[in-house]
Amino acid sequence: MTVTTPAGLDLRSLLHGLPGVDKVGLESRAAALGTRSVKTTAKAAAIDLAIRMVDLTTLEGADTPGKVQALAAKALRPDPADASCPPVAAVCVYPAMVPPAAEVLAGSGVHLASVATAFPSGQAPLDVKLADTRDAVAAGADEIDMVISRGEFLAGHYDKVFEEIVAVKEACGAAHLKVILETGELGTYDNVRRASWLAMLAGADFIKTSTGKVPLAATLPVTLVMLEAVRDFRAKTGRQVGVKPAGGIRTTKDAVKYLVMIHETAGDDWLDPDWFRFGASSLLNDLLMQRTKLTTGHYAGPDYFTLD
């Protein structure tokens, strides 16, 4: 597919020409995938893979350099008692928290992601968003999680949203760009599919569900639509784009459902931290507790894992 003129009309024709999403069928498919039973060796492999896919996140007004550095240390070695436990994929913080995190992560292979572009609302002038992005990259972030302007998207100003993503992508330089659709504010699954394609066409390396700051965060059906979108986009363009559900994924059971969904929809090419991430904070501890249960044979308790 070639889109050379992203003028509003052409983009609209393209996005509105995508196949519709039937909510009932989508949700029942997602629920059915959620009933897959993953046990024993399969479960152990799934837990380690899920740990490697975690974007360990803290996005609080109360974040401090000390807290972020502790989190980064945990990212490198999630289970200090077990050296066989893999590190997570990345640490995800606000731009101001990038420098302290970078001190810990430098050279480790664990990525450093920063939210940018007036996260979480996206309600700021473009130059502010671009400066936000450049600063975060300059401070050491190699992944940028931007938010789209939901207002512009819902108003049908697809060209504006498109151009903004293109501009941010340029500001990212070598850093990978994750585009947050904030699916909880898009209103329909059709919009999730359209926003996914819009972001991919504009150059997103990843599409991400949510900021975690609105009530409706990642869900299995929303992620299913996005997985179908990246699958179809690669089939048409040859370019693979990653997917990151974020917010609300707290248990191993949840995480495994996502892995099953990848396996049975987009395919195993996406079963890799380079192509799939979990934006989460408390998920990691549950994964670690389940991992401990499998390795030791008894149930673990939360007091044995650090809170941040």
Binding site: D22, K23, V24, G25, E27, G187, T188, Y189, D190
Partner: protein, 264 residues
Amino acid sequence: MRKTYKLFIGGAFPRSESGRTYLVDGDNVALASRKDARDAVTAARKAQPKWAAATAYNRGQVLYRVAEMLEARRAEFAAVGVPAAEVDAAVDRWVWYAGWSDKITQVHGSANPVAGPYFNISAPEPTGVVAVVAPASFLGLVSVVAPAIVTGNTVVVLAGAPQAAITLAEVLATSDVPGGVVNLLTGDPAETAPWLASHDDVNGLDLTGVSDTALATELERTAAGSLKRVRRPAGTEIDFFADPGVKAMTAFLEIKTVWHTKGF
């Protein structure tokens, strides 16, 4: 002047293709053959989709018009021996069924509260082409034809009393009933009915007018070949003056249930 009673097929009045006639009260009446029955089924099938697709309002008006024309031709029925009270009742019966056209769907259909996010409704639709062995009584004839066609079926009727039946055909032909919706054959039902019962393009069989039990059983058994809907003869003498209820209509209706997902 004596007239020849011909068949009524596809809105026209042909002689039997066999050329046969028989005498009824001194009148010449066409003696239908199996090929006439076949032609009548072809005409009924051809007319059926359009008749079923007509609005219920339209079908109701057409049936009401039949009642008006019947009323206007009362004398002709008296002339072939139909008692006045029966003609009056037949007029009322047409009016009664005419009014059902846009009500049976509501009375016999439903919105179904299924346990899930689905729109789900059931509505009756006509069975298709119905072969009718009519009773000899004129009111009986009207009481099997009107309920079958008001819902959108088309019929091939084997008349019990030929002169009254063909006089009704003349009423129908001068009303607004589209050709082929009602086809009337005169002759010997024992000869023609088996061909209709075994015809694969007939969907329903009304045996109300069959008084010979062995014939009725044989016709029902034959109809099983293509799983026709069969309305059996009443075990006892039918009082056609009584309230007919809805069963004469529902016997030749199919319930279609449509599901659709709900969601955005």
